[in-house]
């Protein structure tokens, strides 16, 4: 066992001691830390002249939001919001008008929530008179329409209706910028994490041939099974460690700068198609939790492919191209099954719209959400790939 520990440590060392690993890890950390501030860096321009920094603009917005935090989105707040927006001129870039900053800035999230719930334009909002019951009734109707347009089955519709009813209404608004940034920036973090793993893990197996150490390893007593297990475990450790590191960094940066308030705000407030009774805090944690499992599967897949291709660069190129293609390609809603499989691939799945979407997996008449079934499916795939790869590696010889 002590030998395996030594082998594992050296396999880790082989990965992390490379200059490329260090450089890309620093780049990933930098982007993770800076991405949440993309909305507060720089200045707003009018006619080519900088008029105000985004940071001062944001501080004003933040103080307004904090003042509203804790209030129920009831008739009173709805009327207040609509009244504030009625003072804003009806122009294309209304958010750049002084009236907007003066009266409406603090209410923008509540306003967006109302508008998305009713699915109407800004012009129509101006003339709307809206009560609390009507708002939530119309919201429920819109969600039902959405389910119909999404080609969901009757049992799924029933399932989601029941879930939506569990969300406490009327909603209570909370200032929640930290969690909003975590959710908005999650896709950047997850794509870059997957790219990072493709870069550092593509050469784990082919690298031995490139460094001409393959013969030394294969002719050693522990050169087959234990080395294979050590390499795989090292790759999985790197993947989990990376996700944990970027997750901790993201949470630390966002909560540190934007504040910890708003954990309990219903996720449906921010992501209006989510009908499960989750909060923004829970949603953020789940995103990173699923990224852990997706990253582990992606790592094992890359290492498995590299064993067959036996070329680190080809594996890297293929992995990156796959990452780019999955990012660019999407299936129409009508292609339900294909779209669901595509959306549940480990490269696509870590995203708000795939993870919390309305598609479920029916098993024995019961609907299971993606986060309930995918960890098990991914784990099975990891085990399967591990053992197929093990067989391949054990038969390896320089023929």
């Amino acid at each position: 066992m002590s030998n395996f520990g030594t082998l594992f440590r050296y396999e880790l060392k082989k990965i992390v001691s490379r200059k490329l690993f260090i450089i890309i890890a620093i780049l990933l950390a930098l982007i993770t830390c800076l991405a949440p501030f993309s909305g507060v860096i720089g200045s707003r321009y009018e006619n080519g002249t900088a008029v105000e920094s985004y940071f001062s603009y944001y501080m004003k917005e933040q103080s307004g939001k904090r003042a509203l935090s804790g209030r129920t989105i009831d008739r009173e707040l709805i009327e207040e919001t609509l009244a504030a927006y009625s003072k804003v001129p009806n122009v294309l870039r209304y958010s750049e008008t002084p009236e907007y900053r003066e009266y409406a800035l603090a209410y923008n999230e509540v306003y967006t929530f109302i508008r998305q719930s009713l699915s109407i334009s800004n012009e129509e909002m101006k003339t709307r008179v809206l009560g609390e019951e009507e708002l939530y009734r119309r919201k429920a109707e819109k969600l039902e329409e959405y389910l119909n347009e999404s080609f969901t089955t009757d049992s799924e519709k029933e399932f989601w209706k029941n879930q939506y009813e569990k969300i406490e209404k009327p909603f209570k608004y909370y200032y929640h910028d930290a969690y909003e940034r975590l959710i908005d920036g999650f896709m950047t973090v997850s794509v870059l994490t997957m790219a990072f793993l493709a870069t550092v893990l593509s050469g784990i197996f082919p690298g031995e041939k490139a460094t001409k150490t393959e013969e030394l390893i294969l002719s050693s007593a522990r050169g087959r099974k234990p080395v294979y297990a050590a390499k795989m475990l090292a790759g999985i450790t790197i993947s989990l460690g990376t996700v944990l590191a970027v997750g901790i960094l993201s949470f630390a940066v966002c909560l540190g700068f934007y504040g910890t308030e708003g954990f309990n705000l219903p996720l449906n407030f921010d992501v209006n198609f989510v009908m499960y009774p989750l909060s923004v805090g829970q949603g953020s944690l789940m995103l990173y939790g699923m990224l852990l499992i997706s990253a582990a599967l992606w790592a094992v897949f890359i290492m498995f492919v590299s064993e067959f291709i036996k070329n680190g660069m080809a594996t890297l190129s293929a992995s990156m191209l796959l990452l780019i293609v999955t990012n660019m390609v999407s299936f129409p809603v009508s292609a339900r099954v294909l779209g669901q499989i595509w959306g549940w691939l480990p490269l696509n799945y870590p995203s708000v719209w795939n993870m919390f979407d309305e598609r479920t997996l029916p098993i024995f008449g019961k609907c299971f959400t993606s986060w309930q079934v995918l960890p098990i499916i991914y784990l099975c795939l990891v085990i399967m790939l591990f053992f197929f790869g093990k067989r391949k590696y054990e038969r390896l010889s320089r023929e």
Binding site: I24, A198, M313, M328
Partner: protein, 236 residues
């Protein structure tokens, strides 16, 4: 050779040649001109590189039809791949450990490298010259943004790539350049999720600085690479 063969060879030995040098000097030694040499190097550029150029051009041409609104981002994300092809092909000698052999020939490694960089750089600029105006014309964004968004990833990847191949030897350099190119490509694709962050006068200055700086670094690193062929170290 058997004993009999040896004895026959000794018995019927051919006479020694006479006036050999005089005979040979009658033939004019044809030498390859520099232009022909540069053109001949085009034939040694890898097929995969030519195929890559063609694929990038085709993808860029089809992008307004296939990816529609995302055409700008898609074409921009192809530019780092274009730069990767150029840089990795230019580092062919080091990659396949031919640098020392080429260094001692008449048209030395320096000439080979210059020829490759002229051909590849020319091809790269042609592809850029086609893609950038096309994107500027077809996309809804202001022309200067679109143009800068296409050329900046290309020059950034070229600069980073040439910097890398000068400092790291062998296959590891190409691996690093590949990773760099794909990272830049992915960052460009991620930018399409929030275009308003990048399409403002503040960012145009940033892009101009990055593009100009990358262009300068590309040219600088290219010159340093060519000069560096004069000093080949024994230990890689």
């Amino acid at each position: 050779m058997s004993k009999l063969e040896k004895e026959i060879k000794a018995a019927f030995e051919a006479p020694k040649p006479q006036k050999k040098e005089e005979f040979l000097s009658r033939f004019e030694e044809k030498q390859l001109s520099l232009t022909k040499f540069i053109l001949s190097q085009a034939g040694y550029i890898g097929k995969l590189t030519w195929f890559g150029f063609a694929a990038i051009l085709i993808c860029a041409a089809l992008s307004p039809v296939t990816v529609n609104d995302s055409a700008l981002w898609f074409v921009s994300s192809l530019m780092p791949i274009l730069a990767l092809l150029l840089v990795s092909e230019s580092a062919r000698s080091e990659r396949y450990k031919m640098a020392e052999l080429e260094a001692v020939t008449r048209f030395s490694l320096r000439s080979v490298l210059m020829a490759r960089m002229v051909i590849l750089g020319g091809m790269g600029l042609i592809v850029l010259a086609i893609c950038a105006p096309a994107v500027m014309f077809l996309c809804d964004y202001p022309a200067i943004f679109s143009g800068l968004f296409v050329v900046t990833p290309f020059f950034l990847t070229s600069a980073l790539g040439l910097l890398t191949v000068r400092r790291i030897k062998g296959q590891a350099a190409i691996y690093s350049v590949t990773a760099e190119a794909f990272f830049v490509s992915i960052l460009v694709l991620l930018a399409r999720n929030c275009p308003e962050r990048y399409m403002n006068p503040g960012m145009i200055k940033v892009f101009m600085i990055v593009a100009a700086g990358s262009l300068f670094l590309t040219v600088f690193e290219g010159i340093c690479r060519i000069k560096g062929t004069e000093e080949i170290t024994w230990s890689w």
